[in-house]
Amino acid sequence: MLSVRRLDAGYGESVVLRGVSLDVEPGQVVCLMGRNGVGKTTLIRAVMGLLRPKGGSVAFKGEDVTRRSPGQRARRGIGYVPQGREIFPQLTVRENLRIGLEACADRKSRAAKDVPAAAVEKFPALQAMYGRRGGDLSGGQQQQLAFARALAAGPELLLLDEPTEGIQPSIVEDIRDVIRSIRAEGKTAILLVEQSLEFVRSVGDRFYIMEKGAVVWTGGKEELDDPAVTRYLTV
């Protein structure tokens, strides 16, 4: 459903991505790995539309969205949990979640007073914090909020950029469970950027490893024991 073809992208003069191709099938959890600075976040940002590619294409559900704005991609069903959470600090938790509804295709769900239970029930801790400002939450709580916010509009593809970075172990377990339950439901595909091999092994269907702005290894779960994988990921 997501198909990235020979994508070149970068910031200003510098080129970060060189001819990256990647596919995500419906309901799949696709993991993107690699050391720091190899272009994982850049790729996610280009898929979301925050970065204009210099070449190549991004297609979603069979439609070429390379020239579409982030908002238009969101309305077509792409949810995004960025690195660093990007919670609206002065908005309450409830307001943050309601902003998540803006990506709904129809007017009625956008104006809904409350977020659908399906998005929030995965994070029971959030319900007790509805009235608090997003900026007052801890890092782990913000991560859960960003996750629930991205789920609010029921996306068909979810982009998760290092959801476990700097998060306490118990919440990492929660996030693992949530990703697994989304995969079990099969309605939402996930493109996950993650550093921990142990974590991706437990949730992923397909794996890509990047180095120097290009995909250097790809495979399924059985192939993860390939010594090349460890070589690409160790510092």
Binding site: E86, F88, I99, A111
Partner: protein, 302 residues
């Protein structure tokens, strides 16, 4: 007693006028961070709309209807300033977000153009706007203490505008989108908000409120092409003192400056009073650079 009451009322009245001229700027500068030097000219647009509506009523409508011109003038002032604000945002400001120095110079230029435009259309001398007769006279509280209806009207108008802004920004769906965009434009876009539309409408609303302020200023004096320049410094002072980005701060800033101004003028002269007020503001901002109501938040990546 009578003197104190009068001074208190004067202070409140000055505060209300300051607040009215600063509220539009609280949006364009406070929320959007555009150093909008043309804010004064939007005030001027509002003032001339009142003049225009009055002219039309005088020349082509029955004499008895004249008193009804003012509510209409308020509406036109808002609508006209809103429309010109929308035009300015679409044609110019949107290319200058995140470039404070450029937007300062550009909006200043726009201000000069608008001033000259007013001079060409209405002439350089000030023009007077006759207030509707239902605002003549005043409310007599006790011997020697009279609260003019015009001042009371402005107080009520400010309260109304403030309430409307509060409801729009903090209670409506559009306001929630607006706050989201102002806090994190990229993320708001990624969640499906049309940031272009939100920016344009937000700037236009700020401009429209400046227009309302201009319409109200016709009640307290004659108006001219440079009316905006007289108020722009005060407007910025109020927003900065209050704390950029907080509506309650803008209200508190206006109240503080208005009250102090009246107090100092009473004890000295008008110009010395103003100097003292500015000194106080400078000293206060040295102590608290973020203003009265700073936006506080836990570090985002906590």
């Amino acid at each position: 007693m009578a003197l104190w009451l009068t001074q208190l009322f004067n202070g409140l009245s000055v505060s209300s006028i300051l607040l009215l001229i600063a509220l539009g700027l609280a949006i364009t500068f406070g929320l959007m961070r555009v150093i909008n030097m043309a804010h004064g000219e939007f005030i001027m647009i509002g003032a001339y709309s009142a003049y225009l509506v009055q002219k039309i009523f005088q020349s082509s409508l029955p004499q008895g209807w004249f008193d009804a011109y003012y509510p209409l003038a308020l509406l036109l002032a808002f609508a006209l300033a809103f429309a010109i604000g929308l035009l300015l945002e679409t044609a110019l400001i949107r290319f200058l977000y995140g470039r404070p120095l450029d937007s300062l110079l550009a909006t200043w230029g726009v201000g000069l153009v608008l001033q000259q435009l007013a001079r060409t259309i209405f002439g350089a001398p000030n023009v007077g706007v006759t207030s509707p007769s239902w605002l003549d006279g005043g409310l007599r509280i006790m011997t020697g203490v009279v609260f003019p209806y015009k001042r009371l009207f402005i107080l009520a108008l400010v309260a109304l505008v403030l309430l409307a802004m509060y409801l729009y920004i903090y209670r409506s769906d559009a306001g929630r989108r607006m706050r989201a965009v102002m806090q994190n434009r990229d993320m708001a876009a990624c969640l499906g908000i049309s940031t272009r539309r939100v920016d344009a409408v937000t700037f236009a609303i700020g401009s429209g409120i400046a227009g309302v302020a201009g319409c109200a200023l016709t009640l307290i004096g004659p108006i001219g092409p440079t009316i905006g320049t007289n108020y722009i410094v005060d407007a910025f002072m109020v927003v900065v003192l209050g704390g950029v980005g907080k509506l309650i701060g803008t209200a508190a800033g206006a109240l503080g400056i208005g009250m102090l101004n009246t107090l100092f003028e009473w004890g000295s002269t008008a110009s010395l009073g103003k100097v003292l007020v500015f000194l106080c503001i400078v000293a206060f901002l040295q102590w608290k650079p973020m203003g009265l109501f700073a936006v506080r938040s836990r570090s985002l990546d906590g």
